[in-house]
Symmetry: C4
Subunit: 277 residues, 4 copies
């Protein structure tokens, strides 16, 4: 288990090449936000935009269109019920974030199955929150793609079959290898399992223990993976940044809100980008 | 009548334990906001989130969904007309805030009765604004729970039968004991009656005399009670913080808006949290 | 024609009495904002709230409910089509602001007529924008009340019959006396005609020449009149403050937006409130 | 090819004349924003307002009304489906911005054709994004007016027939002359072709490579052209300002969001306005 250091930031967050354009920084499509949990997909989408993703599209319940654009005009909107359109949007994405605020009802299950059908092998797919629960409970076959799971410990139990007490690094490593892809087990000290390695995030503050933090992390991972070639490093850098920003803000705040982490992201990434000598 | 001091903050606002998660800081469910008074439940919900509650759900009129998420993506939404869902959400709450912007029409009365049926004895329930008026005017039997009333003087008259001129500390104390629970009588100098004690808030500024202040206080009390074990102390600390922040802002402002108090809350609580030696 | 000075602020903006409550600072009800001009009534309402009015209610098209609360949860909402409710809200108001974004179609005319029926003699009524045009073009009899007109020069032409070139102080004074009430003729150097006097505002910057400035001034006048006993002084202080804040902001900005004036208002009023020796 | 310098700002951004009013700074009507791309027209509209346009009207899909006013109460709204109203609004405009978020479906085509019919020869028309694609693909005859095209390189290929590799200054110049009007070819180093000259923007940062930047530039051009008599200079100054602000913000941020450029605009223009000696 390798403990992450600030080094993961400077080695991952590259200086942007001068002659680049939106496409250089990737298309991220996020799917989630039913009528109850619209805030979750709004925060995930904002995290992707503020992380620097080139183009961000949010597929969500129609009732979330107004609040999405009131907070984040930079994101495009699509109606989660219009599968013809969402299929195209998924196909054109470099990264798909699936799950924030999706819910676990039959409509969510249908959305998830349809999304899985549209996903192609070269894509990066972040499975978060209720998408993980649905995969685990419905025994859904995963699409062929570069999948990144972001479960908290209870979701990881559902997905891996490992009870929380049994979630040792060795057991997690083996379970992650069996499932395939990258697994981010979120907890007090988040762990990241890649095909070749295991990392622990030494940062994190109890000021972060508030609703929406996981949705924000999922969106940040989407934004980082869209921009940085080494997706394992991108995931590690996103996890580390999320906690590092929270720790900075927690010096002045009793609780740190997800929206505040998002706002701080462009500045934090600038401070920690790779410096050419 | 004990006069509150800054001491109530440092003894109540504990340093957050390192190994904690959202559940540690409580689930707060707020119910209110009809089509006219959506702002009230938005402010109450934001106050609960910014106070540090772990998970916040807002049950309100469907027409308030967009504005809620445009201001506060951190809160979850539920339709006040969907009692099947709201019953579940009430059941899973640690703290229920009932009343901001609820109104006093028959729909409000139905909501209140249904909520009372769902409440369980171990829960903390803040009854605010029109919920108090409805309880008083309709002689509604109160549910068994830890109830905190937050009437202004006229609502207290309705609930206690004491005319404003007759609301002496002794009379209030007796009336509060008869009704049960904790009573916060809001005025120029707010008083708090707990089963064992009576407190006066020495702070408060006329710059606070503007719409939405009471809704904000109700949400703050919800957030504090969700986090701090001694609920009498939590109520006192919330009342004191609300006025202390207003006084700070009033040094620079002719009027202090509820939204500004909410924004300042995480910083204020950090400054005044308990410091281990 | 008396030229206003900063003195109008310190003599009008009283220090708030310690033992006061929302009612002390007045109920302001604003009516306007059709489907096209929702922003106008939102800005007017925000100006009233940030000026310190005790309670603010916004009667507007239903399609403006979400954006109103997304920007200003402190205001209450009522549907402009529900005359039963709006009549009650008008009756309970101390100050009524009629016109920002109301439009001039038949629906607007109906609203205006119904509002006039509900208005009572002791109320202060600010007639702004299209309300003035409708009154002039439809020869509507004015309700008995303390009316404040806030026309720009073309609207003043419609109301007074004076062509812009003929709008000399003497002619304006006579026309204002004939019409009755207080008249604020908005221009490069705004003039104010009260029953006993005429004032000129020496302030104002071309950076203010942008949409929404008049709506914001109407809301500020509403907020000032609700709070300060001498309504002529309140109108003068609102006009002067509006321009003074714009001049301050214009030192750093090429254009000054109405929303920025609103945000600055509580701080400006604090700096210029009456100081007891 | 003349390289732009800061000089384009001080020679173009005039000091505002003291005795001026909203009409002095022009009426800008923006058309775009279907149900998917509401954010695009919101950003373009905000850019026009913050650039100092006198009056801004946004013609867009009805589903964007709330988010428009939640972010920008200063803009008026009209329903893109109500052609009777939009025709009048186009007729009364000094500048029309056509295209941000319009889409390329049949509804978009109908809107574009109807707008073209309403446009009059003395108007300035900015054609952006999908409006350019539709013109190119549908071989739409252009209305007689002062047209400014703002294509990125692929849209310029569609409009001019020049493949990106063949888009040399000489070829671009000739194509622009054939098409008529002013052409802004957006890229790493944006080029501007006027009837008499060609300019290159030396500024720009990869931090700008994010969704919504083009929509924001289109709105800024609209705002500048509405205010400054020399429209070629106005276009150059808008392009230069857009990149200069982005470079300033990019000193502190890894990615610069369109909304942040808009917020900074009034201050930037003040610093760079023409100074009388």
């Amino acid at each position: 288990m390798q403990v992450l250091t600030e080094n993961i930031l400077t080695t991952t967050i590259r200086q942007r090449p001068a002659d680049s354009y939106k496409g250089t920084y990737g298309r991220v499509t996020l799917i989630g936000g039913n009528r109850n949990f619209g805030g979750a997909i709004i925060m995930a989408s904002a995290a992707a935009v503020y992380a620097g993703a080139g183009l961000v599209t949010t597929i969500t319940d129609a009732s979330n269109q107004s609040s999405l654009h009131a907070r984040l005009p930079e994101a495009m909107f699509a109606d989660i019920q219009d599968f013809t359109q969402t299929r195209t949007l998924i196909r054109h994405a470099d990264v798909v974030v699936l799950g924030p605020g999706l819910g676990t009802d039959t409509a969510a299950l249908t959305t998830l199955k349809q999304a899985f059908q549209a996903i192609t092998p070269e894509q990066h797919v972040i499975l978060d929150g209720s998408a993980i629960t649905l995969v685990a409970e419905q025994h859904l076959p995963l699409p062929q793609a570069h999948i990144i799971f972001t479960p908290h410990q209870m979701e990881w139990q559902r997905l891996s079959g490992l009870k929380i007490a049994a979630q040792t690094p060795a057991a997690n490593k083996q379970a992650a290898a069996t499932i395939g892809g990258i697994v981010v087990v979120k907890s007090h000290r988040t762990q990241i399992y890649t095909p070749t390695n295991a990392y622990e995030n030494p940062l994190g503050t109890p000021a972060q223990a508030t609703g929406g933090m996981g949705d924000t992390l999922a969106g940040m991972i989407g934004g980082f993976v869209a921009q940085f070639a080494d997706s394992s490093a991108a995931v590690c850098a996103a996890v580390y940044s999320h906690s590092a920003i929270a720790e900075l803000l927690a010096q002045q705040q009793y609780v740190v809100l997800p929206s505040q982490i998002i706002t701080e992201l462009p500045h934090f990434m600038k401070v920690h980008e790779h410096k050419d000598v």
